[in-house]
Amino acid sequence: MKVIICTAEAEDKKLASFAARSFPSSPPEIVLDAAFSRVCKKKAASALVYFDGSLGDKRILELAAKLGEVDLCAWGVIDRAGSLPDPASYFFAGACDYIGPSLFKSGLDACRLDEALVYGGLAEEPSDDACEEEVPFSGWDALKEGEEAQVRFCYAAIGNQKNLLERIGEKRLDKLKEDFAAFLGPWSKECGGIVWIKESSGCLLLFPPRDEGMNPVLASFRLLLDRALIGYEVFKLEVPLTFRFAFHSGHTSWQKPGSTGKIVSEDVNFVFHLGMKAAGDGYILASRETAGAVPPTLSDLFGPAGDFEGRSLIASNKFRD
């Protein structure tokens, strides 16, 4: 979900610190009042907008009124000093959240943000105890064999392999796949992930259920953006290279990489099918369950992509050569 904070002050360190504490995985866009008025129709679509109290009561209500014409948009107020005269008036005007001084100091947690999104109509009501269930991810080494783990799956593969086979031959293609799997090791580590299963067609990566380091969808998007540079500079290819990515969130029983032969998991099966049968070259395909992993600042580049094996999908725009 895209979050925007509209403020009157250009370099507000306290506000930036609040944003970093409250939205660690995908920092919100901080926009100045003057710029916001001009671009709100374009930027605020599908976004949660917080108006900073520095704008003043009257200006907040003026700007909020402009959001009435924007699709799928909700808004709230940040009142760090507790100085705004009547917080209830914002809810009468359609606000979905109010962040007072103590919450500003501590920062929002994920559950609070979810509540605001649900109240603003930007998310569906979660199951009763979804927030209580969530426990911090303790790392891959801490998982015991056979333990059920909640993870984000990513199927990653070299794209257009048929064409590559014709252009560079079987031997070089096999070497390229090996090199790509080796490349994915440090790449996934930057997002707190691991290369879990290596198959001849592609690799299954695991990421923590919440971002630990870089967001894996953003990292994949960056890889697709840089595909020409990576193909030429990293893999020394004289032919075009592209990738395909499929994301899904779910559960699996944990086994260490290399000992995954006997894993029975509906979600593992699904992500393999998604990557091998539904995903395509040059874009990211994800199950609805993973939609929350798409950084808000990229969300306008993702849209519905039909259903697959009973689950609805979203897909990013496609990079064209």
Binding site: A10, E11, P27, E29, I30, V31, L32, A34, A35, F36, R38, V39, L218, R222, L225, D226, A228, L229, G231, Y232, E233, L237, E238, V239, P240, G280, Y283, P295, T297, L298, L301, G303, A305, A315, S316, N317, K318, F319, R320, D321
Partner: protein, 307 residues
């Protein structure tokens, strides 16, 4: 480069063991035009000169002229290619390379030139260009679109902060490909490339800049509107002078500025025909003919569309 006495002595020994006085003078003339060994030593023309004497004088002179690296590069080429159809072996060349490496210089096999080791230092001229030296360089020029308006609307402080971010992005794209930023003014920048496949490096740096700016505008830009640039790459001969203003007046730089201002759309990188001719097909194919009437440039943009 500061040349230690031990390194100068190693070179002298290497020279007199490998070449006679005439050949040594020939090599010196390639780095110091009109070099006259006898005039410098005071030896009359009718008295034969020992290689040891010639080597000693020449090494002292190239060190004084700050052309030590250039002279070693010339010797390396002699060792590799010979001269007038005859092969020459320079004794101890490997040891010389090792000693120069220890001083913080790397050998670039592609160009046959030494460059400073970027892990140790990064200077504007790669620690080796000298005034008046003629080189073939590639230039990446960027222009910040509507720069004055950005400053006017968002204020000097916000604009300065955004430009610092842009400088960081440019610096990462350029320096990891052995290029150097030669100027970064309010309205644009110029980066130079000399080593490796310099034209390819400059084009890849330009593509990387376009990509990074695309992400920056979505993820980190705080001025409330996208920071947009036009970028262009051109290659050609340049006579090096330390003053960037003087370099910008030279033909190659004027052409890259023209390519950027006339033929490049916003958020795009353009390359001139001189650059296009040197690129590998896999990179060249990413560029399309420019849409501007009369454009000879090829243009790269990020093409993103529905699945």
């Amino acid at each position: 480069m500061k040349v230690r006495n031990s390194l100068a002595q190693t070179l002298k020994k290497s020279l007199y063991e490998s070449l006679d006085a005439d050949m040594l003078e020939r090599m010196a003339q390639d780095v110091i035009p009109d070099y006259d060994l006898r005039q410098r030593t005071g030896f009359p023309p009718n008295i034969p000169m020992q290689a040891q004497t010639a080597a000693s004088r020449i090494v002292d002179d190239v060190v004084d002229a700050e052309l030590f690296l250039h002279f070693i590069e010339r010797l390396a080429r002699l060792d590799r290619e010979g001269f007038m159809g005859r092969g020459y072996r320079i004794a101890g060349l490997r040891d010389l390379f090792k000693a120069i490496g220890a001083e913080g210089y790397l050998w670039d096999a592609e160009t046959g030139l030494f460059m400073e080791d970027p892990r140790i230092r990064r200077t504007h001229n790669w620690g080796r260009l000298v005034q008046g030296e003629e080189l073939r360089l590639s230039f990446l020029r960027i222009d910040i679109v509507k720069n004055s308006r950005i400053v006017k609307v968002h204020g000097e402080s916000a604009a300065r902060s955004a430009y610092e971010d842009l400088r960081g992005i440019l610096s990462r794209s350029v320096e990891r490909r052995s290029g150097r930023i030669w100027s970064f003014e309010g309205d644009g920048a110029l980066a130079a490339f000399l080593y490796g496949h310099s034209t390819t490096s400059s084009v890849l740096a330009g593509m990387s800049l376009v990509h990074e700016l695309f992400l920056y505008n979505r993820l980190y830009n705080r001025i409330g509107e996208p920071l947009r640039v036009r970028a262009a790459v051109h290659t050609g001969p340049v006579r090096y002078v330390p003053e960037i203003g003087e370099i910008l007046k030279q033909e190659t730089c004027r052409e890259v500025v023209e390519a950027e201002s006339k033929w490049t759309p916003t958020d795009a990188l353009s390359i001139t025909p001189a650059v296009a001719g040197t690129l590998d097909r896999v990179i060249l194919d990413r560029f399309k003919p420019g849409a501007e009437p009369g454009s000879r440039a090829l243009v790269y943009t990020i093409a993103l569309g529905a699945v």
